[in-house]
């Protein structure tokens, strides 16, 4: 069933205002999908109250916000996943289509319907902390559920997606959150029972220098999770702002002129600087937990 075909509950036949709202929601979905995203979901702002402290909720960012429209898009091509050179997928993983489309959605809402709409802020504004979590937005808009793998939100069909959100004062009919957890997949439950680790935990185990750990309960649901975000940063942002700062510290502390020259012109520092300059080509730089994830793999199986 596509995003556009939402069943109407007979007990909730909408009135005229409701019909207008449904029509607008459908237009927004059609616009987003035809502009290049894979999924669209809509959540009411009240869902954030349970999960986010005051000051960081949608209506704190846009006063009067009623709805959050979330879009998701696939990242690397299936071909990029096939390459045995991990650097290829790292330079190919992100084309910002989700951001581009969310701007179109926001423009459409403001220009066609006359309500305030903004792109929810996605970039970190203090250290590694974003002003608004797209991952939580995706969960609350029914587009996926949180996984063992770096808390990545997995969509049942596509697996890993990149999300953007639009906050708006326009009240829209909303999507339910997913009832069925996407993670762990049945195959991962089997692997866990056989070896004590899911594939992603086996690929990047926190007790062996990696980032992930977790347990599955007797109900085959996630029972506990552990994610070392700071180690993950060294992998997912291998060359960029972080490595630039680390390397610069070492450079500045080096007293020997020649050694300092070697550091400045080193491949590591050159690639760190390139990572900042070519940020658009290389936003995400580690996919190893997702590489072994079975969710969405069918979509990546081509000829």
């Amino acid at each position: 069933m596509s995003n556009l075909d939402k069943p109407v509950n007979a007990a909730q036949v909408p009135d005229e205002q409701g019909l207008i709202a449904m029509s607008r929601a459908n237009d927004i979905r059609k616009l987003a999908i035809s502009s290049g995203v894979d999924v669209v979901g809509i959540a009411p702002v009240e869902r954030w109250d349970e999960f986010v402290p005051p000051g960081s909720r949608p209506y704190d960012i846009l006063p009067g916000a009623k709805s959050v429209v979330v879009v998701g898009v696939r990242g690397p091509s299936a071909g990029a996943w096939q390459s045995p050179d991990h650097r290829l997928i790292e330079m190919n993983g992100y084309d910002f289509a989700n951001d581009r489309v969310i701007h179109q959605v926001a423009d459409h809402i403001e220009q066609e319907y006359g309500y305030h709409a903004i792109q929810a802020p996605g970039l970190p504004v203090g250290g590694h902390q974003p002003a608004f979590s797209m991952m939580l937005a995706a969960v609350l808009a029914g587009l996926g559920t949180r996984s063992f793998a770096a808390n990545i939100i997995l969509n049942p069909k596509y697996g890993l997606l990149y999300y953007s959100a639009c906050l708006t004062t326009l009240e829209l009919p909303v999507d339910p959150m997913l009832e069925q957890d996407v993670c762990p997949a049945p195959m991962c439950v089997q692997v866990y029972k056989a070896g004590g680790r899911t594939p992603c935990q086996a690929a990047c185990p926190s007790d062996e220098g990696g980032c992930l750990h977790g347990t599955i309960g007797p109900d085959n649901r996630i029972e506990s999770t552990y994610y070392d975000r700071e180690r993950c940063v060294s992998r997912a942002m291998n060359f960029g702002i972080n490595s630039f700062q680390k390397a610069l510290e070492q450079i500045a502390n080096e007293d020997d002129d020649d050694r300092r020259t070697m550091m400045i012109h080193s491949d590591f520092f050159t690639r760190s600087t390139s990572g900042i300059a070519f940020y658009k080509e290389s936003v995400a730089q580690c996919f190893e937990c997702m590489r072994v994830c079975p969710i969405g793999r069918a979509e990546r199986k081509l000829k």
């Binding site: 091509s77 071909g79 096939q82 650097r87 290829l88 000829k303």
Partner: protein
């Protein structure tokens, strides 16, 4: 392979070509993935995409005719971008995967370890018949001259084009100049024996010898970019005087470098002087 298979391949190539043109490409071509024998190890299509059959190459996103006419070299520094042509490549890759169901991956425009590209895109373009090598360095299309290229590796089998039989360089005007003066426009503009990057010789209307100073060219093509940044940083750390360090850090050169790095998508090439004087494709620059 049956006639039906061949017809299908031709139809798919045509469809991709139409999409490429619609996306803004000037030229496109297909190279055989197994034709990259001269490529460095690790830079062959089959090493990057297992099962790769063909390489779909697009060319375009040239500086505009008006750009070439500007007397400000600084203006040209902000016209160069592989961003646009890479975006076209991404569209092709997506189309191949979602419409035809074959693996496809666009070669990233940046560099990998030790400043090596993932794949020699110029070689890919040459093997796809989208241009031929020039004495100045960039690949030249016989009709349009200098342009940017992108390459999409794919497991989709397509009819291949193969290299051009007649090289675009040297152009007849360049051969005439060589016969008369012993140099060509690009070598005259940037002579390696006089502080520049290019040298060489022609014989019987072909390039016989080519000399190219990569390191010097880097100082020109990436004057205000990562290499320039690294050099300035080195100078800052070596400078014991605080006030002089400030002068370096606040200098127009260093500031310009930071701007170019931030806006890398529009400032990847910062010297076009050898291409400015190149006659190949120049007729398209003469507008009103």
């Amino acid at each position: 392979m049956s006639a039906a298979d061949l017809d299908l391949m031709k139809a798919q190539k045509l469809e991709l070509g139409e999409l490429a043109k619609k996306a803004g490409a000037l030229v496109f071509g297909v190279a055989d993935a197994n034709a990259f024998a001269s490529a460095m190890e690790g830079q062959r299509p089959t090493e990057l995409l297992p099962g790769c059959k063909t390489v779909f190459v697009l060319g375009g996103a040239q500086p505009r005719a008006g750009d070439w006419h500007s007397p400000s070299y600084r203006h040209m520094e902000t016209t160069s971008t592989s961003d646009r042509v890479t975006a076209m490549g991404n569209r092709i890759a997506q189309h191949i995967e979602r419409r035809f169901g074959y693996y496809a991956v666009t070669i990233p425009p940046g560099v990998d370890r030790a400043r090596r590209p993932f794949l020699n895109i110029a070689l890919a373009a040459e093997l796809a018949g989208c241009g031929s090598p020039s004495l100045a360095g960039p690949l030249l299309h016989p009709e349009f001259g200098f342009m940017y290229y992108t390459a999409v590796l794919t497991t989709l089998p397509l009819p291949v084009d193969g290299p051009l039989t007649t090289p675009a360089c040297p152009a007849p005007e360049c051969v005439a100049m060589w016969d008369e003066m012993g140099t060509t426009p690009c070598m005259a503009t940037c002579p390696i024996d006089d502080g520049g990057c290019l040298g060489g010789s022609l014989e019987d209307g072909h390039v016989k010898e080519r000399r190219y100073d990569v390191a010097r060219c880097t100082t020109r093509v990436q004057t205000s970019f990562i290499p320039g940044f690294q050099k300035a940083l080195e100078a800052v750390f070596e400078e014991p005087e605080k006030e002089k360090r400030k002068m370096i850090l606040y200098s127009s050169q260093f500031t310009r470098t930071l701007w170019s790095m931030s806006y890398s998508n529009v400032s990847q090439g910062q010297c076009f002087e050898c291409m400015r004087v190149c006659p190949v494709g120049s007729k398209h620059r003469n507008l009103l």
